[in-house]
């Protein structure tokens, strides 16, 4: 069928048909193909990006590139100063910070509680002791302060509260999950770590879509150490930011080779991704593919209709072409090439708009989903695969109606007989 001669004549016919067709019709069909392309790539890209956005945030603002954390049966990393010394000496490491972790009970409004029988306003969570400066260098924690101020090294008895511990920011009203009421910067609350209770001032409120941040209390590390009575400087988490362009796995492997894995869990941000996140990502990708498939079917029906109407209205001319000796295959190829042209133009415009405008724009201004700042995930490989699918589908959708019309009796076509 695809002899070079048929291809040449098919191209000759297709070129003239497109060139001398109504330009508005051509623009409309290309426009439909462009939106089909966007439907194929962008819908699934946003669905995957919704999860990817959450993963990126956990990576950037919580785990950083590599996270060293406690072994499952420990509450702290043994010989933490030594571990941090190893980290410090790795040239690929840019910044790191130690975090002390403990559970905490918070109580507010205790001064206004008049009745002993009245339920105290308490909440429970985790308290993290940080060096405010190094933590901010690694995870940019200060950017999530929505009320009050960020901690400084010399702050004494001051805390940052995660928004989910404050009633006015809590997105849900769930039984068994309590939050503190009437909290604002400057409010005094009681915190209880182990058996030690202390009155502290709320310096600020942290609100992030990363739940690990919004559900924690932050305090200067020296203050928390004094509360838990830890003088060994053993921390519970060490997020490590590595230099740009370095593979996190490299730093992980160096740490493991140095024996850090004997006293702590060493993971890159992707190693540390919970399985349900990976499953969700796959699920959304699957959902995106299902929606894309529907888009593909719509595209093929559109092209089928366009080519069918074109071929039916040009039936007489198809008959004339056959009558003067033009092969059926050449005529079919001309319609296939027309379909290809529409899909190609739509895809090229789509690719330009996607990578030149849409993806950078969404990266700069992520979509504000309730649990993540959604980005548009559109890897070149996946996009090209979808473009390929669109091409194949439209070529088939263009061929079938052309074949149906071309097969009709030559004379019947010329004379317009049924």
């Amino acid at each position: 069928m695809f002899s070079s001669l048929n291809l040449r004549i098919g191209f000759f016919l297709a070129k003239r048909q497109i060139k001398r067709s109504n330009p508005w019709t051509t623009v409309l069909i290309v426009f439909v193909m462009f939106f089909t392309f966007l439907n194929l790539v962008v819908v699934s890209g946003i669905l995957v990006g919704l999860i990817q956005g959450a993963i990126n945030e956990v990576h950037t603002y919580y785990t950083s590139d590599v996270i060293v954390s406690t072994l499952n049966n420990k509450t702290y990393i043994e010989n933490s100063p030594e571990v941090m010394g190893i980290i410090k000496n790795i040239p690929e490491v840019d910044k790191f910070s130690g975090r002390y972790l403990s559970s905490v009970t918070l109580e507010a409004n205790y001064k206004t509680r008049t009745n002993e029988k009245e339920k105290p306003n308490t909440a429970a969570g985790s308290i993290v002791g940080i060096d405010p400066i190094t933590e901010n260098e690694v995870t940019s924690l200060s950017k999530f302060v929505v009320e009050g101020e960020y901690l400084s090294r010399g702050d004494y008895d001051q805390v940052l509260l995660g928004a989910y511990l404050v009633k006015k920011y809590l997105p849900i009203d769930s039984p068994g999950f309590t939050a503190l009421d009437n909290i604002e910067p400057g409010t005094k609350i009681r915190i209880k770590v182990g058996e030690v209770e202390r009155e502290v001032t709320v310096k600020g409120i942290i609100k992030s879509k990363v739940d690990e941040l919004s559900m924690r209390v932050f305090m200067v590390d020296s203050q928390l150490r004094s509360m838990v009575g830890r003088s060994d400087y053993n921390v519970s988490e060490i997020p490590i930011k590595i230099k740009s362009g370095v593979d996190p796995a490299l730093v992980r492997d160096i740490l493991i080779k140095s024996g850090v894995d004997k006293v702590a869990k060493v993971q890159t941000f992707s190693d540390g991704e919970p399985k349900f996140i990976k499953d969700m990502k796959d699920t959304f990708a699957l959902l995106g593919n299902v929606l894309s498939s529907i888009g593909l079917v719509v595209a093929s029906i559109t092209i089928f209709i366009v080519i069918f109407i074109n071929a039916i209205t040009r039936r007489k001319y198809i008959g004339i072409l056959k009558g003067i000796g033009i092969s059926e295959q050449a005529i079919e190829i001309s319609y296939i090439l027309q379909s290809f042209f529409y899909a190609f133009c739509g895809s090229v415009i789509g690719i330009i708009i996607l990578y030149a405008f849409l993806q950078p724009a969404i990266a700069a201004h992520p979509i504000d989903f309730p649990f993540s700042d959604g980005i548009l995930v559109a890897p070149i490989g996946g996009t090209m695969l979808r473009v390929g699918l669109l091409m194949v589908t439209t070529i088939i959708a263009g061929f079938i109606p052309a074949r149906l019309v071309v097969r009709k009796n030559t004379l019947d076509s010329i004379l317009g007989r049924k």
Binding site: I9, K19, I326
Partner: protein, 220 residues
């Protein structure tokens, strides 16, 4: 050159069948100019379509250039039409999205002729029919007579063995019809075999031989 044996063509009209050609036997020699005449519905055009391999006869044989065409496949018939036959239709049958030159060059390109040669030959054919200055005009920019001349140029550009013309002057005014007939005369002089269906006695007179059809049979 062309021989028709026992040609029958029947059309179905619901339950009933209408026999339009009722066993036609006919021969034409190389270089002959034959006019096929008859009243409306006599089967003139139907006979031309069967001879020109544009339709399948119900029975009978069409032998062109010593080749029995009844055994040819659809693809072979298409190639046969391309290489040996030329057509001039009543309504010109030009492709509207192509210029006069492209319309004429198309069959040549299909024969595998290079683009340069095809356009050269097409251009010469258009010069022969007096349209040397209208090569790049679309059919919509040409008059009826000019369109028919493009149609003739397309039919002769690839030097067919037989030129079939189906009422070529039916849609034209007297002056244009006269010009078309002059072109046919010239082609015949150069040795082109022509079979032309017409119902106009005046134009049939330029043919060497006239065949009269009536009720699906040759009567004269």
């Amino acid at each position: 050159m062309i021989e028709i044996k026992g040609l029958v063509k029947t059309f179905k009209d619901g339950e009933s069948e209408i026999q339009v050609l009722k066993g036609i036997d006919f021969k034409a020699k190389t270089g002959e100019f034959i006019a096929v005449m008859g009243r409306s519905g006599a089967g003139k055009s139907t006979l031309l379509y069967q001879m020109g391999l544009l339709d399948e006869p119900t029975a009978g044989e069409v032998i062109i250039d010593n080749k029995n065409t009844s055994s040819l496949t659809i693809e072979e018939k298409t190639f046969f039409r391309l290489s040996k036959l030329g057509y001039v239709f009543q309504d010109y049958a030009l492709l509207p999205e192509m210029t006069a030159l492209e319309n004429v060059a198309l069959p040549l390109l299909m024969k595998g002729v290079s683009e340069k040669e095809a356009y050269e030959k097409a251009s010469n054919s258009l010069i022969i029919v007096g349209l040397g200055k209208r090569l790049n005009n679309l059919p919509s920019k040409l008059s009826g007579g000019e369109q028919q001349r493009v149609s003739i140029a397309r039919a002769i550009a690839h030097e067919p063995k037989i030129l079939f013309a189906d009422e070529p002057t039916a849609n034209l005014d007297n002056e244009s019809s006269r010009v078309i007939m002059e072109i046919f005369k010239e082609l015949h002089k150069k040795g082109q075999t022509i079979i032309m269906v017409t119902h106009e006695v005046e134009y049939s007179k330029i043919a060497e031989r006239i065949i009269h059809l009536d009720d699906g049979r040759i009567v004269q």
